[in-house]
Symmetry: C4
Subunit: 299 residues, 4 copies
């Protein structure tokens, strides 16, 4: 079912990357720029991420010996330094997720680049090292993003959904590795109900949400794919849900054949396999489009 699987290290059948978008309350401010400061309950909901969930997740990851990736807006890096310390001390990866969770699809390219650089610098300041991985806020990867990531020296992106295994994005400015996921791997559709976020789902029990992610895992294990979560500390890191994450890790470890890795480690492995000639990846020339498609003119 998968045409071009990557040979994972040590013969593992699946690469598993627990990745967390640590937005904190950045979203609230960008969505309600004039009165976010008034919306204290949603602030408290989202601050639970860096303040309560991150220490819990880091502790849990340590218990199971698993390294994870935290895609964090630059503003959140600056605002919640203790959470960032937990992440770094735990040996986890800090990756790029915009500066204020701003939407690159609604901004001119020079603004996208400005925020990209500003957030990279925030991560460099906090961790001593520029990020090598990126996930676009709101998944709003733009027609310029590949160019910008390549010229800024990024190794990989994890925003797109075009395959079940890593592939390569190539632009005029260079190449990056894409670590794809898809919407079923996100925890918003399972758990989030909040009118300040303009998002109302019929909240599921953790075991029901886990069925979705387990089904993805079993298939990726069977066919040697890549399993990447898009979870949020304030959401899947809530107590009851986090206990189910722990059970999932236990299940995976018991089943075996799983390579637990940060996104960076996976991207490096793919890059190395390409360089060594042991893997010939799919290469997508980016962007797919530079302007409205001409066929629309008649409509």
């Amino acid at each position: 079912m998968i045409k071009n699987p990557v040979a994972w290290p040590d013969g593992a059948r699946v690469a598993v990357s627990f990745t967390w978008d640590l937005d904190a309350d950045s979203l609230l401010h960008i969505m309600h720029p004039t009165d976010s400061y008034r919306r204290v309950a949603t602030q408290s909901l989202m601050r639970y991420g860096p303040e309560v969930a991150v220490p819990r997740i880091v502790e849990m990851a340590k218990r199971y010996g698993v390294k994870m990736t935290f895609y964090t807006p630059g503003w959140s890096v600056e605002r919640y330094p203790r959470a960032i310390e937990y992440i770094l001390e735990g040996g986890h990866e800090l990756a790029h997720h915009g500066y204020l969770h701003e939407n690159p699809n609604e901004r001119p390219p020079e603004e996208e680049l400005y925020w990209l650089q500003r957030a990279s610098e925030a991560i460099r300041k906090a961790s001593g090292r520029k990020p090598v991985g990126y996930r676009a806020p709101w998944f709003k990867y733009s027609e310029h993003t590949t160019d910008f990531l390549a010229q800024e020296g990024f190794l990989y992106d994890s925003t797109l959904m075009g395959d079940d295994v890593p592939y390569v994005l190539e632009s005029a400015k260079g190449r990056i590795i894409e670590l794809p996921f898809h919407w079923a791997m996100d925890d918003y559709p399972q758990y989030i109900q909040n009118d300040d976020l303009n998002y109302l789902m019929p909240i599921k029990a953790p075991n029901q949400a886990m069925e979705v992610w387990m089904a993805e895992f079993e298939a990726m294990w069977e066919y040697r794919g890549l399993w990447v979560t898009v979870w949020h500390p304030f959401n899947s890191g809530r107590l009851a849900r986090c206990t189910h994450v722990a059970h999932l890790i236990e299940y995976m470890q018991k089943k075996g054949g799983v390579w637990f890795a940060t996104s960076e480690e996976i991207a490096h492995h793919v890059q190395k396999s390409i360089d060594a000639g042991t893997h010939r990846p799919r290469v997508d020339r980016m962007p797919y489009y530079r302007e409205p498609i001409p066929e629309l003119r008649r409509t």
Copy 2:
């Protein structure tokens, strides 16, 4: 429970038609004509259909010896020639699904006809043969559609929801066979969450979605009906979901009494049964209405 069942070939209890709407990214362009080119993540999500899912589905269909139907917008036929080759080489049916997934209910009749003809021509060019089957984009079958389909020589439509078995649509211009389905047979309500598509469902696990389609199958099997999916390669063709489609086919084959057929084969069988006088179908005079109902004037 079904008044007027069709006698399916070889005494089968149910006619099963796996039909896929291969929209690719046509929807995105029609929904966001000025800036679809910026929305790369959703492009990648939808391109997964022709690039990853179609080869997978075709391979799976071959494994089980099942022929399927792919309702494909003309633009997608032109844009993704390799996917179309897979479909045709696999012996599957290529059917009509508009040109750019444009909405016929929002357009004057001459535009509906223009796009209908343009997409037919795109399919003819790709396959050497004009399509004989149609499904209206967005299910927006118009008051002129029956006329247009009849005059353009179509054999059947599969957009309407008026019965559990095929019936006949008759207009001033001729007759076509209707292969009805209903919304429960669509995979969007089970699986899709995407703000660019303005569509937010609480994504289900594949086994939960399958319960919906299994219930329809069991009932159609019991009462000798027609089971037609409206699935999308980028959606039900994702890895985990597609493994469940495979299990479903296995289940159906084991159960027996199932006639797996393309929509065209089913329509032909119905037409032949009518011509032979062995089936007297329901005939609906179309359209049901030509103008606003007069009773509304008082309201």
Copy 3:
């Protein structure tokens, strides 16, 4: 758990009334007055109600010896005479559901009364008898509705949700019996997805929807309440769903202690019990409010 249960006939523990809102396509016309005639797919979806589902439901009801109630807009009565014949020949009740499913909460009282009378007349013409029961379209019972129902000689209403057992609505013009239900008893939240109806639910499998109604039934059976569905032929009358309705009736009949009755029969029983002094109902003086509440002036 129920303070004031009604003593049902023959010591039954629960009164069960299968009631169907046979809207047909009235909703579509009232929601899209200028272009409903263009939306053929949704027409076909809703016409399935009178054309396919009603004969099926009537046949099923006959098989189990159960009488049901069909709340039908006057326009639908006029438009689908064969469905009405099925209903009447089956011995079922034809009740009032507006004329074109118009919303009484958005209309002046004289218009509400106009449509109420017009639809009553449509039912009288079709059945030889004015309806005695009412359910407001969209559940939009107005501050005038009790008055109008009382003066028009109605026996009961089944729109409100204020109790688990029948109660009395009293206005200056007289009294009617209220047969309450609540939203969990409606089949739209379980099954409907249709953009023309501006309504998008994640369609459930019939067995999952049945869990909702079964839970209500078990509780009403336990505590001697009233179980009233708000189902729609085009929806719960679809083949797979209808087979589950049949199973539910079988289950109820096997369990015993169930009084299957039309809404009219239940209202008559309650009225008789009140008249005989064997039941002292809750009486609500209507309307609850005649104008905006005064406390709002400060806000």
Copy 4:
């Protein structure tokens, strides 16, 4: 998984507080100030709360010997005196929930204070005592709320979501205890469908909704947290759902290690533990923000 658990009385593993937001129809009036009086069906739905559900809940609570908290808007206290009597006679806590369920985030501070005082007075009149606990209507806790609660002498709030255990909110005007919950503990996402409330969820069966709350309970029991519901009498107090609440209480009592308490009792216990120096709580300086964040200026 919980860093700083509170030692609950008698070595209990979890503090359980059944709290009900007894809005009655206040929401309807605030959402539709000009024509709420016309919307009789939703009035009846919401009046079910004080008229049918509250007596049922109080009786059930008595059966199990559990005390609960009812957050009630002042207007509802005035409007439904018999429900309030039931609550008080049952020994339950009457807490503050705004006056008309007005949104503090959309009002100037002087209005927030006006309604806060007016509702406190309504509760004092009804119960002889000012409320000591608060939950903001719509969860719209403002940047002034801590100040107001502290200066008005409140002991605690239960609106925020920043932790799994109680914590302290400190402002210039004083300190209050926060008893946090989160959206999964609310019963709207599980059960509510009502267009007058502009809220459409795919209503679940009670056993499915209970899975959500049970998962939270099991985790809080395991890690010694706080379990606080945000249920509504008109909603979780409906018959079938309420029978499941009863089963849940039975389950909890059988499992043991549960301290059933009102919110006030929990807040008192926490305060006492702090005063005695046996618990060092997290203290949040409030508000988190006083104005739009400066980083937004560039965006």
